[in-house]
Structures are given as structure tokens and as C-alpha cells.
Symmetry: C2
Subunit: 222 residues, 2 copies
DNA sequence: TTGAAAACTACACATCTGTGTAGTGGTCGT
DNA sequence: ACGACCACTACACAGATGTGTAGTTTTCAA
């Protein structure tokens, strides 16, 4: 059998900390190797003891005194890039959830989870998966339900048209686009007119809007 | 005790169908009330028998002969708006997953799931949650990791600046914006200049791009 | 009250944009 | 070989845009 999964707990509520502690103390596969009541203390301990055994998993509360879990998250990630972080909190606020996820967590569990669910989640994460509380998962799913493209009549731009639209979105003027693509400004205008027709708009700003709204562009690129 | 959870299964592989069937036959809380080998047959049965008991859950395979599960999804949703759909498939292709989710599923499980995991998932969905295979959850989480805003220096536009930017994105010209807001075109230009400064761009298309990329605008509105 | 910064209006102007018309060369199906 | 179509170029121009300069009003802290 392999080594125990090592776990760091960052949680201000002592009672809950003890619940977790007791739960792991009876487990042959997991070991709570360190626990802290604030993010600051936890982070300081990482810097001082560079030889400290790196935990496999950090269980991180969001609502901490001083620095919040959300603020601390990037620092943990930087200091311990190989350690996977599971948020363990009461907050089911959508903004908290989305922000935590956007900062790269491997799981988001609510404190209402049973010990068994928590341990399942930890195992799941160690296996390379992600662990989401069902309610959190539903939130995320519902959030994604709209986002992608919704129109049947897919807008299809020529490769050149597409690249011109991208350049427009980057703020280039037509003459600069011409220079970039080694064509004349007239040709650029020619393509742009076609783009507007396909997108059913009449000017550049509207075209860019439409590109994002239809999923032609995705927010993730700059 | 409440009634059994009623389940419809749409799955072309007979062997797997039998596995599921056997699993439910021994369960006091769930009942497999109907099973179909293709989406077409399943959908037809819904139309013909409108008095048929509506299932609580549909377990839907994606890779079906004829109409795929992905294609059939909207029809199921329309015909049975109160029935929650769980995708149960082998495909962990990101595009399949995202498309299924965007069409409004309550869960996405892989066939590698154990009977226990499947039943847990069904129960979770019945409780109002969503059930995701850990690998699927990880995919979604990683996909979301970039998307939201990432900059600390939140861009804050005046209320007027924001509304002007919105109007620009809708394709209005400055003079029309002026008319809409009952100000002069000069004032519109004045605000626009400030918008460009705040967004660090030099023209309207770039400003719109930035607005979407920073989360100032969200794709969901037209 | 005074001064400074911010929000707004006004005017002027060089530049950029969107569009029309027209023409060239290449490709394709018939 | 023909017309049809597409990508491209050229020229022209009204109208829109971005920017500088300047003046007014509002806000707010000293």
C-alpha cells in the first residue's frame, strides 16, 4: 500500500477543525499533517519551512479572519504548485464559487458534506479528477447553459475575414490591417463589408459585439 | 416512504442495458420503467403515449445509432420539461460534454461509473443537485479557469460611460447615441475618449473587445 | 470661500470608415 | 470557350470618428 495522503487544513473554526481532525485520525489512508486557523499563518509556515513535507491536498476555508481563502489561493498555488486545493466552506455564493474555480481549485465542497463525501472527494482529486458539491455543480452547469452559441444559423467567416475581424478587435485600423496582411486597404474594406453582411451589422463595434455574442470570439484570448 | 424514482433508459448496447436493468431490479428506491435502444423510438413512445407515466430521470447515451443523444436532447427536454436528464456515456470528449451541458442536462456520468456511483448520481439529481463524473468536473473546471476576469485593477466605468459603450456595441453612431441620451455628439465623444483611456485602447472595436474580455460585458445579452 | 479636480458642453479638424462604382485575373462547372 | 463567381485592386467621397483646445458647471475637501 502507498503512503498516506497528506492533508493541510486551513480553517478558523476550531470546532469544525476538530471534527475534521478526528475524522482523519481514524483513517489509515489519509493524514492531517498540519492545520492552521488563518491563511497568513499557513502561508508563513510554508516560507519558513521549505523542507516541510509538501502536502498532497489543502482543504481551504473561504471565510477566514484576515486574508480570505480567495485571496490566499494564488499564494498557495504559487508556493505549492503540485498541491491540489479543495475549497471546504459554507459559502454557496455563486461569485465565490466562480472566483475560486477561476483561480484553479480542484474541488469545491460545502461543510454540509459528510465525512465520507469529503474523503471521497479527496480520493477523487488525488486520482486526477475534480470534486464538486452537487449544488455547486448544478450552479456551474446552469451558468454554462446559456453561454455557448445559441443560433442554428452558424455564422461562417472566411479564414481571411476571420483574421481581419480579429485584427479589428485588437484595435488596428484598416490601413494597418492591410499592411499586416499585405493587401491594400481597399481589399480590407471589401472583406469588412462582407463581414458586416454576414453578421448583419453596419459597423465595426457592432461586428465585434456580435462576434462575442455568437461565440465566434471567446472571451479567453488577449 | 415515497414512491420509487422512475427511470427511462436510452441505450443501444443491449449488454449494458441489461447491466443497468439488473442493477435497478434489485433496488427498492428506483425503478426502470422503460428502455429504448434508439432516441427515435424513445421519442415516438413519448408522443404516442401522452398518458404514460412521466419518468423522473432519463439516462441518455450519446452514441446512439441514428439520431445521437445530443440531437435528441432538446426534444426530450421539450416533451418532458420536468424530467431531468443524465448523460450516461463513454464519451469524455470535451465538445460532447460542453454541448450536452449547454443543452441543459443535470448530470454527466461515464459508463465506467459503478452502480453505486450511478445511483448516487440519480439521487443527487433528484435532490436538486447535479452529478458530474470527476473527470468531467475537472474538464469543466479547467475550462473555466481562464474565462472570468483576471486583473486586479478592475475597470470601473461611469454609469454614463457604460451605457455609451453598450450603445456603441449595438452599432449606434455617436450622433444617435447623443440623441438617445439627450446630449450632444461632442459630449458623447468626450465620454468615449475617457472610455478608451480607462480601457487602454484607441478605438471603438478594441474597446468592445476589451469590454468582453474583461468581463465588463458578458456574452449573454442581445 | 476658495481652489482643484471631475463631469460635462462646445467647436474645429485631420483622419478613418463605410460604401458605391468599376475593372482585373483566377477558378469552376458546363 | 463561355459565363458566373470570387478574391482582389483602384478611385472617390460623404459621413463618422478620434483628438486637441477651451469654456462651464458641479463636487468636494481644505
Amino acid at each position: 500500500m502507498q503512503n498516506k495522503i497528506t492533508i493541510m487544513l486551513v480553517e478558523d473554526n476550531e470546532a469544525y477543525r476538530n471534527v475534521i481532525k478526528r475524522s482523519f485520525s481514524r483513517d489509515a489512508n489519509m493524514e492531517l499533517v498540519s492545520q492552521f486557523s488563518t491563511a497568513e499563518i499557513a502561508l508563513r509556515s510554508l516560507q519558513e519551512l521549505s523542507t516541510r513535507t509538501v502536502p498532497d491536498i489543502i482543504l481551504l476555508d473561504l471565510n477566514l479572519p484576515g486574508m480570505s481563502g480567495l485571496e490566499a489561493l494564488p499564494y498557495f498555488r504559487q508556493a505549492l504548485p503540485d498541491t491540489r486545493i479543495i475549497i471546504l466552506t459554507q459559502s454557496d455564493k455563486e461569485s465565490d464559487i466562480l472566483e475560486a474555480i477561476s483561480k484553479g481549485t480542484s474541488g469545491y465542497l460545502l461543510k454540509s458534506a459528510t465525512n465520507r463525501q469529503l474523503k471521497d472527494g479527496i480520493r477523487t482529486v488525488m486520482d486526477g479528477g475534480a470534486s464538486l458539491d452537487p449544488d455547486v455543480a448544478r450552479l456551474i452547469l446552469e451558468g454554462m447553459e446559456q453561454t455557448p452559441k445559441q443560433k442554428k444559423p452558424e455564422i461562417s467567416l472566411t479564414e481571411k475575414e476571420h483574421s481581419i475581424l480579429v485584427l479589428i478587435g485588437q484595435g488596428l485600423e484598416q490601413k494597418d490591417i492591410a499592411k499586416t496582411l499585405c493587401i491594400t486597404r481597399n481589399t480590407v474594406a471589401y472583406h469588412i463589408k462582407h463581414i458586416y453582411e454576414k453578421l448583419e451589422v453596419q459597423n465595426a463595434p457592432a461586428a465585434i459585439s456580435k462576434a462575442y455574442q455568437t461565440g465566434l470570439f471567446s472571451p479567453g484570448k488577449m
